[in-house]
């Protein structure tokens, strides 16, 4: 018999209702899987008792014949960027070690209100800054997939704990956050699905801020349908977030359809970049064929400013980060370092020097520089103007098509340590993800196939603002056509 942890979220939901297994059994099996997978280092904190409490509530509702909440008894992983009441939340940083939020983020509260349990907090790159989950204060997360020579691979980042936990069947779904690819690239590296909705769909309240004009939460799961289920619970207007969109949330799952007749899918020619492995291009081509087979018309389109997206992002995101991370001053929460005989400024500087890791320091310094007197216009304002041009590229392209298809990342998962010494090589991981982030567009990664080395590769779909449904539907078509069922062989 299949282990309950191997089921999809939708199958777990059905199994609970059919009484094939109890929510308690589901929670206990997942708790055991989490405990047994510590070699992957996906969790920063395990909360088996919280998962069990949600399961008991679900079982009681089932026994009483009550109407079940949408996620009743479903155990999830929550990225450590989300503040969770009473449970340590660190954003992967030493500066927040020991921080116990007195409140719950809106997104995780919505999942709980819908009946979900929490298995624990998921490891991540420090303050979501990274593409390989090698910058966490909690240590590297390990991809359940291994390289050709059995070497350890990175799970992508920054939602690397989320991608590994879902791919290793430690949870059927997890929250991720995406500022410049942090849901989509790790999903691609581990052979799972992940969607970043339109900027403003998910409340940012209670999510540790990185770059506020870009940060968006979204679900990661093994199937497109499971993403649709979780997305519905996570989205919705929140007066506590000034950029939250006051728009109705569709029933994404009910409206799923893999029939793409009448849809036009654009292939942006600028996403063909030099040095990209031919297997990525080949996968992209196959993806276009799959969408054509599903009824879509495939057209070539142009997004002329694509090559400037990454440098634009690496001005705007660090600038916003330097401002957001100013709050870590050792006064109100988190770590404090008090040098002997030092004053308040000495305390700030020592606290931040000891509490932040190298990549965070680098980005805060870059952000401080580009915002400093004399450089603001040349860097920050310039980047905001180029961001406008990038957004206008997308607006123009929507005259010609409904969706875009691109690869998610320029490679499959790479070995730990491979890109650590070269920040720009690391940043290039997100070259295909960042443009949609800058334009605030919904975008999803779906597994498209395996690389020559047998590793998962992802395809990215980008949609018009608010058209998560269109993205999910095309994702479903890809999922059905690709028939991606490969899973990492268990070694942990």
């Amino acid at each position: 018999m299949t282990a309950v942890t191997d089921l999809t979220l939708a199958e777990m939901r059905a199994g609970l209702r059919a009484k094939d297994f109890s929510a308690k059994e589901l929670a206990e099996t997942h708790n055991a899987a989490v405990e047994g997978a510590r070699a992957l280092n996906a969790f920063t904190v395990e909360t088996p008792e919280i998962a069990l409490a949600a399961a008991e509530a679900a079982d009681a509702a089932i026994a009483a014949g009550d109407e079940l909440k949408p996620l009743a008894g479903i155990p999830l992983g929550i990225k450590d960027l989300f503040c969770t009441e009473g449970v340590e939340s660190t954003a992967g940083s030493n500066i927040l070690k020991g921080f116990i939020p007195q409140y719950e983020s809106t997104v995780s509260a919505r999942l709980k209100a819908d009946g979900a349990g929490m298995l624990g907090k998921l490891n991540m790159d420090e303050f979501a800054m990274g593409s390989s989950n090698e910058t966490s204060a909690w240590g590297n997360v390990v991809n359940p997939w291994r390289g050709k020579g059995n070497e350890a691979l990175v799970p992508g980042g920054s939602s690397g704990g989320s991608s590994t936990a879902v791919a290793a069947n430690l949870c059927p779904g997890a929250t991720g956050t995406d500022t410049g690819g942090s849901i989509r690239q790790p999903a691609a590296f581990t052979g799972i699905c992940g969607i970043k909705p339109t900027y403003g769909r998910c409340s940012r309240w209670g999510v540790v801020a990185f770059a506020s004009s870009l940060d968006q939460a979204g679900p990661m799961a093994r199937t497109v349908t499971d993403c649709a289920v979780l997305l519905k619970s996570m989205c919705g207007f929140d007066p506590k977030d000034s950029t939250s969109l006051d728009e109705p949330v569709p029933d994404f799952e009910a409206a799923l359809s893999a029939d793409l007749k009448g849809k036009r899918v654009g292939i942006p020619k600028e996403y063909t970049i030099e040095g990209i492995p031919s297997e990525i291009d080949a996968l992209w081509q196959r993806g276009a064929d799959m969408l054509r087979d599903a009824g879509a018309e495939v057209v070539e389109v142009s997004l002329p400013h694509t090559k400037y997206a990454l440098p634009t992002y690496y001005i705007i995101a660090p600038a916003e980060a330097s401002s957001n991370l100013a709050r870590y001053d050792g006064v109100r929460y988190g770590r404090r370092e008090t040098p002997e005989g030092g004053n308040l400024i000495d305390m700030y500087e020592a606290t931040r020097s000891a509490g932040f890791g190298d990549e965070v320091k680098r980005r805060v310094m870059i952000g401080t520089y580009v915002l400093s007197a004399g450089y603001y216009d040349a860097y920050y304002l310039k980047a905001q103007k180029v961001r406008r041009l990038i957004q206008q590229d997308f607006e123009a392209v929507w005259e010609r098509c409904d969706l875009l298809l691109t690869p998610t990342a320029p490679s499959a998962a790479f070995a730990a340590g491979d890109k650590l010494d070269d920040p720009i090589a690391m940043y290039l991981n997100d070259v295909f993800c960042v443009p949609a982030s800058l334009a605030g567009l919904p975008a999803m990664s779906v597994p498209g196939g395996l690389s020559d080395d047998g590793l998962p590769l992802g395809l990215q779909l980008v949609g018009k603002p608010m058209d998560e449904q269109g993205v999910l539907n095309a994702g479903l078509a890809l999922e059905q056509a690709a028939g991606f069922t490969a899973r990492a062989e268990k070694w942990w």
Binding site: Q102, Y314, D329, R332, L381, R388
Partner: protein
Amino acid sequence: MSVDADTVRKISHLARIEVPEERVEPMAKELSNILDWVEQLGEVDTDGVEPLAAVIPNALRWREDKITDGNVQDKVLANAPKAMHGFFAVPKVIE
């Protein structure tokens, strides 16, 4: 190199991040590499282009001017590295 050692010292103070002297030169090189790379934006003609700050159009909302939160001093101080008499405690600010 767009960033020299003095600039690193200046930025590190602005950012309130202490950079040990032996890290100043390497940091200057790292930051310069990144800034030299983003310099390519100079190629883009942005004359007359409005800077983009809010990516999805969304007007800021008004709300009634009334207190909706508060009386949670214990919670506010719960994570303070040091708190005394209901306040955050910090090293001496005024000599």
